[in-house]
């Protein structure tokens, strides 16, 4: 099946099998390895990417469903010269990263949520920030620093 979509700002069109998962399209076909497979059953959030503004688990999403849509992965957040995105900056600043395997999923999830908050002009509470990350597991950090970092994204 032929699909046409945008990934990290670039238009692509390709033939894909209807059964191909988005995570496999991203990692194996497009060779964007920043998106991580943690469970491949929609439980850990390590594979989170943004499709038309929504953070989704790319392991539970068929590649054909991105047809006509815009996908962004962690690689799209910064160009080589660009400074870090605010979410990345805060993760760094708060030391919210240990092994890093959950990190790109957490960054993408937070990015999608912060865009939404920005659009709607709201500053989420700490509880809301936590809720936004309920689908992301981290086995290393105990989350404290992740919550701090995500919350800091909304501070002026």
């Amino acid at each position: 099946m032929k699909i046409v979509f945008k990934i990290n700002g670039k238009q692509v069109s390709m033939e894909v099998k209807p059964s191909l998962l988005l995570i496999d399209l991203i990692r194996d076909v497009l060779k964007l390895k920043g998106t991580k497979p943690g469970c491949l059953e929609g439980e850990c959030g390590a594979c989170s990417v943004i499709v038309d503004g929504e953070a989704i688990n790319s392991c539970m999403y068929l590649a054909i469903n991105v047809n006509g849509k815009e996908v962004s992965t962690i690689e799209g957040l910064t160009g080589t010269e660009n400074p870090l995105h605010k979410v990345q900056d805060k993760m760094l600043e708060h030391g919210a990263v240990q092994c890093g395997f959950c990190t790109s999923g957490i960054v993408m999830t937070t990015k999608a949520y912060s865009d939404k908050c920005l659009e709607e002009g709201i500053t989420p509470t700490r509880e809301e920030v936590k809720k936004s990350l309920e689908g992301n597991l981290c086995r290393c950090t105990g989350y404290a620093k992740i919550i701090d970092a995500a919350e800091a994204v909304y501070k002026k």
Binding site: K31, L32, K33, G34, T35, K36, P37, G38, C39, L40, E41, E43, C44, A46, T73, I74, E75, L77, T78, L84, Q88, M91, L92, G95, V97, Q98, C99, G100, F101, C102, T103, S104, V107, K130, L133, E134, N136, L137, C138, R139, C140, T141, G142, Y143, A144, K145, I146, I147
Partner: protein, 750 residues
Amino acid sequence: MKNIDSKGHVTGKSIYLDDIPTIQGTLFGVIFDSPVAHGHIESIDYSKALALPGIQTILTSKEIPGENQIGGIFPDEELFAEEDVHFQGQPIALILAESEHIAFQARKLIEIKITEKEAIVDPREARKKNQLIFPPRTFSLGNTDSAWSQCAHIFEGQADTNGQEHLYIEMQGAYASPLENGNIRVSSSTQGPTAVQRTIAKVLGMGMHKIEVDVVRLGGGFGGKEDQATPWAVMAALGAHVLKKPVKVVLHRMDDMRMTGKRHPYSSDYKIGLHEDLKILAYEVIFHQNAGAAADLSPAVMERTLFHSTNSYFVPNVKATAYSCKTNLPPNTAFRGFGGPQGMFVIEAALVHAANELGISAHELQKKNLLQDGDEFPYGQIAADVGLTQIWSDMEAKFDIKGAEKRVSDFNSKNSDKKKGFSLQPIAFGISFTKTPMNQARALVHIYSDGSVGVSTGAVEMGQGVNTKMLQIAADMFSIDPSKVRLESTNTTRVANTSPTAASATADLNGKALQNACYALLTRLKKSAADHFGSAASDIQFKDEQVINSGKATDMTWNQLIDQAFLERVCLTENGHYATPIINFDKEKEKGHPFAYHVYGLALTEVTVDCIRGTYEFDSVKIVHDFGESMNLPVDIGQIEGGLVQGIGWMTMEELDYDKKGKLRSNSLSTYKIPDIYSVPKEVLIEALETEGAEQAILKSKAVGEPPLMYGLGAYFAIQNAVRAFNPDAQQTFDAPFTHEKVLMGLYQI
């Protein structure tokens, strides 16, 4: 300094095993494993699987040129089962195909006939049937037999802890490529590159020098990739050897959970005797370790259970016996704490049991019996620089233990549907590999002619920040900008015969080896500079990339000095070696001085239990921790926060579930729950104990990887405290994890 990998992590650029670009022609391996926990293989028909287009071959024990043996401590574990299978998930064959997808399809087409045998899953049953991995061991001090008669109170009971799945978010994997002359290069997500190298060499029947193992980083290990990263690496190497093609084996989550061992479940019996004045006089404990089907690291894990059987307390009469019981579970293995937490849980249970019966607070008993300088551990080491009394009074001063107790009892007297509970959890954790020869490390340092530096050590980075600490050491010692230092991958051709990254001791061992290398280089460089200035080497110092002569800045920079030294043909490479002094242990006598030092700490946990639903929430955990003089507090605090939550997970929600036939029911992330963002304490406060640190710790900064996990034990006892506030008749059962279901049972038990 921030974790040096964090920028790569937040931008998604860091490379993990499965991200390594695949070479064309790479074959993908999927493991065919035993569907039953115990049985005899009658026949296997691979023909349909082999007929599938895209399948290259299926490797079994028949293709192994060397030994079909991967046991690390004892040779009791086959790489591929030959005749009998001993656990569900035991590898039987490796399917190699052009894609993982095809290999998975082929797996479904393999037909196996097995005559099932009776499976043992309970360690006590294994002991009864005399199914032991090796003979039991006993640590003793004083004489418990004669002490019982002097005890005013004696309590006996049983305390069990379930296992724990490591759930590193990056799954197990390895990628092997054939090189010229039959050599093989393997990238592996392992904590033990040398173990991987040694085992591949054995299975392929060749020398270790023909195998190169490289590790860039791990997406979490926690002990689960210490010994158990080896089989997949050996399989990949076998494939590369047989087919002369690159082979990648990466486990999918359910395969990973089914095939790998976990934290050992323990079932233990205790008997504790107290004097009138509430001092512990005698303690006897029998541990039944559920080792699974092969030894793996169980002997060492069991040993650490014995070492930590009295946790932070002094007990004059101790008899601790441990049985390593052979069952039909996957071989259980290292997991942060390495048997220590299981041992500590039992004495904590015994103390809580005693306190409940005596109608006093458990913390009164705990405090009364805290270890002091000069006390003897059951294994003969004399406790020194024990921070526990200071830690306890810091806790009282900073976090108000009495206030917490009052808060809890006030809340409980006003509320009937919700109850609060609290606990104090002291820890004393010994640092060193208990097998003395493993306490050695090496570091290779190159100073390149442009003044930049490359550092290789035996340490594996798995998120704990060890590479950051190594980089700090080199940059500080040379007084150069950290950007000039590169931490290389962990590679067996650069640093050989490494101990695994484990036992919390990696930064100490490798850091000290690195210091030794840097010292040697500094000595040569100082001489070169002194010759130049006509001064003595002792007059030379380096500060911010500048050479200092007799306390005065010179116009010579670090780069110029390196350039000069190179032209003078000074060796700019050094290999540092370190072996921990003092430590020893005599296994015959079960006595010695096995630990370089201990790490101490105390956690105060408060929980609120919903007595209608059986759910709970942790209000706070407040910790006073003995960091020594932390060389990197943000990194160390991260270890505490993460370790604590992992410990809480083990004690509360992580429910490993094998059925009676040894089949894993909690076999995926949807059936095995680890703490998510909601399950963590609402508040975690950490205070550092003011101390001078330990000489044998790197830069006096004490090891921090494992100890904080044991703060999580407090979660169990805080919940129990709340349950008893609601139902004072709740039985004295100690059976972790304290799931919501068990809380409900406790609340309404009569």
